[in-house]
């Protein structure tokens, strides 16, 4: 066991010595990998920051039926009951929002309070909010219900409230798939960079490998420093990428903050959590070691 540990320590020492022997070349390789890795990291930052915004709003589609302002007093309750009776399987909840309640709710918002104060009466109609059941072809169903309800007496218009949230969800789903594709491309870049670095190192160390074999080195002994080189390059590149992404987020956030505030929102981009970043470093390190193993197996057959 001690001998095994010593061989690993020897391999690590050799790896660090080889990296230090060509500092500019090593750094250039790391930078290429780090910049490639920073792209999906920044993409991930945008995704993890945007997801809570989407989650804050219910994605369950709601249809709001606005009644005509001239509709009689009990019309809203009658329409709510009709919705419950006619569309029992498609609607999970129905509630009436009386025009006075809607006005009171708007008056609580200082932005609207002053504007409403100059109006002679309540301009808002009664409304009925129907929450639809989840399921297949939701958008189609919602559209058909809206069309049908719009024909009813005293109904002015029907609005699908959650369409934009669904669109945002769809965009995020698309972004997630895109990010996976980008991550796969970056993995290929890391693989190629480590493969080439190890190939160059194997060529440089040709004499040392030959001598080591001559004096009884096993293939594991010969390959081990290269595996360390791959793993270490991957880990260092991932750490550099995290640092680069963190640095890039600062100016991005200051620019974004002004935009978000103009919409009355507080939106800040941040990197994924520590477990995700640790997994990224570990994953890149394993990928580097695998690329190194592939390369060293191919390039030390002499």
């Amino acid at each position: 066991m001690r001998s095994w540990l010593r061989q690993h320590r020897y391999a690590l020492t050799i790896t660090l010595r080889r990296l230090a022997a060509q500092p500019f070349s090593s750094l250039a390789n790391l930078m290429v990998m780090a910049l490639a890795l920073a792209l999906p990291l920044l993409g991930g930052a945008i995704l993890v920051s945007a997801q809570p915004v989407a989650r804050q709003v219910s994605v369950t589609p709601e249809l709001t039926v606005f009644l005509q302002t001239s509709a009689p007093g009990g019309a809203a309750a009658a329409i709510a009951q009709r919705i419950r009776d006619d569309s029992a399987g498609q609607v999970q909840a129905v509630r009436v929002v009386p025009r006075d309640e809607a006005l009171a709710s708007l008056r609580n918002d200082p932005t609207w309070d002053q504007a409403l104060a100059v109006l002679p009466g309540n301009p808002l109609p009664d409304a009925v909010v129907a929450t639809l059941t989840e399921g297949e072809h939701l958008a189609d169903r919602a559209g058909k219900l809206a069309q049908a309800w719009k024909q009813w007496e005293h109904v002015d218009q029907v609005q699908l409230d959650s369409a934009w949230v669904q669109r945002l969800e769809a965009i995020l789903r698309f972004a997630r798939v895109g990010l996976l594709f980008l991550a796969a491309c970056v993995a290929a870049v890391v693989l190629a960079a480590v493969f080439n670095t190890v190939r160059m190192q194997a060529m440089l160390q040709r004499e040392e490998i030959a001598v080591a074999r001559l004096v009884g080195a096993t293939e594991s002994f010969v390959r081990r420093p290269f595996l360390y080189l791959g793993a270490l390059s991957g880990a260092l590149a991932a750490l550099l990428a995290i640092a680069a992404a963190a640095i890039a987020l600062a100016p991005l956030n200051s620019a974004l903050l002004g935009l978000a505030r103009s919409y009355g929102a507080d939106f800040v981009l941040h990197l994924p959590g520590l477990p995700v970043l640790a997994a990224a470093v570990l994953g890149t390190s394993i990928l580097g070691a695998l690329a190194a193993r592939w390369s060293v197996t191919r390039n030390t057959r002499f």
């Binding site: 001998s3 061989q7 074999r213 001559l214 009884g216 293939e219 002994f221």
Partner: protein, 222 residues
């Protein structure tokens, strides 16, 4: 210790470099392998060291049939056979001491004890005090002795050397051979390839002579 039975060696479809070689070496023997350039001396030593496979026949080294030896076991055989090739294959990116420590690192020796053993090996070949020097700073004879130190540091049972005195003056060559003789006296079976008849004649010892199509074993004739 070493046994060749009807061994043939050729490269590709070319002529046989070695043809029907038969001999046996007992532990502790000191043997010269002689012959003209191209006669197959280096090839014979490479076969013993397991550095190349025979085309036909059976080779046994240190109790192991080389043709039956799996690839993963070959490194362990090489640790029992110290090899000094014609080109010393020293590493010029490290010190003399670090060159000698390499075989010990391969076996997972602790750096402290490896350092002590490497120093002792350098001392035995007369290179004490030159541990920190780069091999390129050493003379040809010193480089040869450094290669010997590297070959013997793991205390091999067999030592094979291919033309270790080539390109060296007579006195230096003599000193190198005396180093081999010293190791042989403590029980290391030693085979040295050389074409220097005058030098070999000074040692009354067994000789394997290779000539095109012929093989003579002075031990077998005796």
């Amino acid at each position: 210790m070493i046994e060749f039975q009807h061994v043939f060696k050729s490269y590709g479809r070319g002529r046989n470099i070695l043809a029907d070689i038969n001999f046996r070496v007992s532990p502790g023997e000191f043997i010269f392998v002689s012959g003209a350039s191209g006669a197959g001396k280096s090839t014979l030593l490479k076969l013993i060291g397991g550095l190349e496979p025979a085309s036909r026949g059976s080779i046994q080294v240190n109790g192991q049939r080389l043709d039956k030896l799996p690839a993963r076991a070959r490194p362990y055989l090489r640790r029992a056979v110290g090899v000094i090739l014609q080109d010393t294959h020293l590493l010029f990116d490290r010190s003399a001491l670090q060159n000698v420590m390499l075989p010990l690192a391969v076996t997972g020796q602790a750096p402290a004890s490896a350092g002590a053993r490497a120093r002792a090996a350098l001392d035995k070949v007369g290179l004490a005090g030159k541990e920190g020097m780069n091999p390129i700073e050493l003379s040809g004879g010193e480089q040869q002795r450094l290669a010997i130190a590297r070959a013997i540091v793991n205390r091999p049972a067999i030592l094979i050397a291919d033309e270790p005195t080539a390109n060296l003056d007579h006195d230096t060559a003599q000193r190198i051979l005396n180093v081999f003789r010293d190791f042989n006296r403590v029980g290391v079976t030693t085979l040295i390839a050389s074409h220097d008849e005058a030098l070999m004649a000074q040692y009354a010892t067994r000789m394997l002579r290779l000539e095109p199509g012929k093989f003579f074993d002075s031990g077998a004739q005796a």
